[in-house]
Amino acid sequence: MNILSLFVLIPVVMLLGLWIARNLNQVRGVMVIGSSFLLALSVYLTVAFIQARQNGDTSAMLFTYSTPWFKPLNIAYSTGVDGISVVMLLLSSIIVFTGTFASWQLKPMTKEYFLWFTLLSTGVYGFFICTDLFTMFMFYEVALIPMYLLIGVWGSGQKEYAAMKLTLMLMGGSALLIIGILGIYYFSGATTMNITEIAAMHNIPVDIQKVFFPFIFIGFGVLGALFPFHTWSPDGHASAPTAVSMLHAGVLMKLGGYGCFRIAMYLLPEAAHELSWIFLILTTISVVYGALSACVQTDLKYINAYSSVSHCGLVLFALLMMTKTACTGAILQMLSHGLMTALFFALIGMIYGRTHTRDIRKLGGLMKIMPFLSVGYVIAGLANLGLPGFSGFIAEMTIFVGSFENNDVFHRTCTIIACTSIVVTAVYILRVVGKILFEKVADPHYEQLTDATWDERFSVCCLIFCVAGLGMAPLWVSNVINGGVSSVLSVINF
């Protein structure tokens, strides 16, 4: 039994458990036990992975396992992890775990909600453990569909519109993806769908690569909020319930960056080099544009959604720099952004649950009323603007230093433009923090509101702990990622 398959099996068992569960407590029980197991498993995996690496196991993928499930097209269920997937699995487990607590008091239809929530996480886990093109695609789709229902049913505001928009845009991305995947499969003449094997063959003609690279890069880019395909993000996040926003911004958007790196760039390296300039411009725009848009938003979730556009833009930006440091930074940024945004969305959800508004013009003086949530919000904000001691700082610095390694004017100009985002980020974060937390209490009704309950506190504390832990002791994570990145990059930079 392969340890990685547990990441899919546990959620499936959880689904069964939820199905059987009779009442709310049983549902919660199943979720807590299952997500704790997953968290423990991913911590164990990380430790085992580091040990294996220390023992000198240098193969690209560890814990590999493969069994064909559709012979005619050579589709196999093959698993394996490298440094990048290990930290992504860790991230997913943390978000699922804290997301469970963040939706502790969710009503109505709690059971159904958690069913879809778990199904979504199954897709996410499956995507990160697989090394087979088609199976990855399949899990990707599994992760997308539940989102429609989660937003459409449990969302708020214009939820049907948002759910439809999000799903259609992401499905549009999938359509591009499947074309790209088939293109890679046929033109490489491979008798396997395993990405490491296809990459090792390295025999797709450059012209063909240039045709299919945009398909895959944009296909995943839609999920990674690549300008101008990011517009699902503000509406989608704004309407989604708390834990779904957390999972979506925290993990699902990372699928985009991961796919761009693992599939588009890894399998089509020459095209990546030749076409990177177009996407580099687009991502540079994403970074600055997202940050500037966030400056004038009035809905808390919109601010965060645009902030995510900016930060996820930085992920793709760094990947396209194609230096080892920058790519390590990109993965760090995925990890850091996942944790920070999850924290942010959790807090926004909790504030919204009390004040029933997310309009910053109607909020104010929350520090006095709900100190715990407010302090959490300040910390999330400071982490988001890249304060040293939190994860954002190390990720951004690694990216900027890595991007600067490219010794030409174009890359450096892009880097300097992207650097300006650190100022703009400070502007929009402090604007919100100042408006909603400080000064006078905006509405006398708020005086009666209560501070966080134990489940909310637990979830927030976990995330803060992770963000600060990563920010203070980044060396081990950086080393884990570095190994994975260098083996991928050795193919990309042949």
Partner: protein
């Protein structure tokens, strides 16, 4: 390894921050304050001990104090470069340890009285600890990136402390402004670091003479300046100037000074610690730290530092003459004095006979550090004194004061001592440092020398205007009837006395040049009599002028001047409208003309396109839907028409 204990200097304030931050709210005020003060007391003791060991140690063969690096480890690998954290002790960092720990301890003690009964007392001490830790980390940095890290941390502690009274709008706005302005400058600093690091292959300060590494410390990767110069002569100067912009932001140089006066919204002890003595001199410290590079590779660019410094010094002094809020006067005075330090660094000349580091040519370096030291002491004393006054009259406005000398003798005397010191009258400490600066300026260019002398005279004038406005002049009887001003409690006056004693003595007791000098060699300070006498006389004249104008109950001359030049007064009072200019740029230009259109574009154009595609598909579907009506007759018509048409087409083709 000697100095293996120095990690405690950083660790203790950090632990105290963590403890107070997590558990502070459940503690009584006294316990929280004691935890903070006690840890800082130990840090101060350790700093003094370190300084004692360091400066009494044998000088090396080349006559300089060895640079000690007890700790240095890789925190984050960045490809070919490394992000190290460590502790480096050299003359300027040890001097800064003394300055920071002394002032910080004074402020910790003082705050017991000043913040007594204040809500959030524990939070206040937690922030103070955080700030002290970050500032100490900044000065002992072994590399430029570590400096940047702590640079950001002091920025955020400053943000938190300025916004301490968060229910007040002014405090929130000021904290936001301070953070964003300095962050804007930091962006340039970061770009400078990137350029520097990439071309020289290292971030470390390893050009600093003979280095003694501790056990287990990662050795420096040497800065390869030669490679950078080979890549282009402009690279090092560009990087240095970019870093200087960062330093100018922190040190409130024109036009990035706008945040500092507003930062006075924070509690007064905080202004003394952060916005007078320590954090705002970080920019000066940064240039001093990179001084060997400036003097060797960018001597031409040093004139930028001079011009910015001279202009800022003049501008701030002019504004200070017209302010009515006592903390604002002190804030502008701080800006002006920091500009003095900047100028002093800028006026250093390349050494004689090919020697890169030369004590005589680079008198300004020593003078700048000396002034940093003395200024920290007397300005902290002034701010803490102002705190006592505000504590007594519950207002910052000079109009509510006047005649306070009767009520607050200790504050009065210590304030007077500091005023004399800042004016540059011997034998007070300010005289020695300021005189060295002016001597260095004269060596650079007589024009700069005379301008700086004039600004020094303005300093004396506005400081005594302030002094007379507070302690002499018309007493606000009406206000004082309700609430008689009284001397502050002992916890507040003791720090004042200590600081004023240091101010009185530190100029002539020790020879500063034997600790800190450009080349690291022992340097005997000797006064240039001519310049010393000239500047003292000029300072005395402006004090006399201030006495003449402001001492009396009625101030006819001030009123005449005010009536004569109302516009000038108003402009100076309004800080020559610099804040309005910045507000225009940020609010009108960036928010209205950039952000809002971008947000609109995103919602209407980009999003509109996708909505349009969705609508288009939908409309297309609606259009062809009637074709699938399920009506058999309609299908038959289509079938027949199609068949006929196809047959005809085929016939024609055949």
């Amino acid at each position: 390894m000697e100095y293996s204990y120095v990690f405690l200097i950083l660790l203790l304030p950090f632990l105290s921050f963590i403890v107070l931050g997590l558990a502070g709210m459940k503690m009584p005020h006294k316990t929280a304050g004691l935890i903070g003060t006690l840890s800082l007391g130990i840090v101060t003791a350790l700093s003094y001990y370190t300084a004692f060991c360091y400066f009494t140690a044998e000088r090396g063969v080349d006559g300089t104090f060895a640079t000690m690096v007890p700790y240095n480890f890789t925190w984050l690998p960045l490809g070919v470069l490394n992000f190290d954290l460590g502790i480096m002790l050299d003359p300027i960092s040890v001097m800064m340890l003394i300055v920071i720990s002394t002032v910080s301890l004074m402020v910790h003690i003082y705050s017991f009285g000043y913040m007594h009964g204040e809500k959030g007392f524990q939070r206040y001490y937690a922030y103070l600890s955080l700030f002290t830790m970050s500032m100490l980390g900044l000065v002992v940095a072994t590399n430029i990136f570590q400096m940047y890290l702590f640079w950001e941390l002091v920025g955020v502690s400053s943000y938190l402390l300025i916004g301490f009274y968060y229910p007040l709008h002014a405090a929130v706005a000021a904290s936001k402004k301070a953070f964003i302005v300095t962050r804007f400058a930091d962006m340039f600093f970061l770009i400078g670091i990137l350029i520097f690091g990439f071309y020289t292959g290292s971030f470390s300060f390893s050009f600093a003479g003979n280095v003694v590494m501790g056990d287990g410390a990662t050795p420096f990767i040497p800065v390869d300046v030669v490679r950078a110069v080979a890549a282009g002569g402009f690279i090092i100067p560009t990087a240095l100037v970019l870093m200087f912009i960062g330093g100018a932001g922190k040190s409130a140089m024109f036009p990035l000074h706008i945040w500092l006066p507003d930062a006075m919204e924070g509690p007064t002890p905080v202004s003394a610690l952060i916005h007078a003595a320590t954090m705002v001199v970080a920019g000066v410290f940064q240039i001093a730290r990179l001084f060997p590079l400036w003097i060797e590779y960018a001597p031409g660019q040093m004139s930028i530092v001079v011009y910015v410094g001279v202009f800022t010094a003049f501008y701030a002094a002019a504004v200070a003459c017209a302010q009515s809020d006592i903390k604002r006067v002190l804030a502008f005075s701080t800006i002006s004095q920091i500009a003095f330090m900047m100028v002093a660094l800028g006026v250093c000349l390349p050494g004689h006979d090919g020697a890169v580091l030369d004590n005589h040519a680079q008198l300004g370096y020593m003078a700048s550090m000396f002034h940093l030291f003395t200024h920290a002491m007397f300005k902290a004393c002034l701010f803490l004194g102002a705190g006592c006054i505000i504590h007594a009259v519950h207002s910052n406005e000079m109009s509510t004061m006047g005649g306070l000398r009767k009520y607050m003798p200790i504050t009065h005397i210590t304030f007077l001592i500091s005023c004399i010191a800042i004016s540059g009258i011997p034998p007070f400490s300010g005289f020695f440092s300021k005189d060295e600066i002016i001597t260095a300026c004269f060596a650079y260019s007589p024009v700069v020398g005379w301008i700086m002398t004039a600004i020094a005279a303005m300093t004396a004038f506005y400081m005594f205007r302030l002094y007379y406005g507070i302690f002499w002049g018309t007493e606000n009887k009406e206000l004082h009837e309700h609430h008689t001003p009284h001397e502050a409690p002992l916890t507040m006056t003791i720090p004042l006395i200590i600081l004023s004693v240091i101010t009185l003595t530190c100029g002539w007791i020790v020879n500063f040049g034997s600790f800190v000098s450009a080349s690291g060699l022992d340097y005997e300070i000797h006064l240039d009599k001519q310049i010393a006498i000239t500047s003292t006389v000029i300072a005395l004249i402006s004090i006399a002028l201030a006495t003449y104008i402001y001492k009396g109950e009625k101030q006819p001359i001030a009123d005449i001047l005010y009536k004569r030049f109302p516009k000038l007064h108003r402009a100076a009072y309004k800080r020559f409208y610099m804040d309005e200019v910045w507000m225009f740029i940020t609010h009108k230009v960036i928010f209205r003309l950039v952000s809002t259109p971008i947000a609109w574009f995103d919602r209407h154009v980009v999003d509109g396109t996708f909505d349009f595609i969705a609508w288009g598909s939908n409309a297309a579907g609606e259009t062809i839907r009637p074709w699938q009506s399920g009506d058999v007759r309609q299908y038959a018509v289509w079938f027949l028409t199609g068949t006929v048409a196809l047959t005809l087409v085929l016939l024609c083709l055949l």
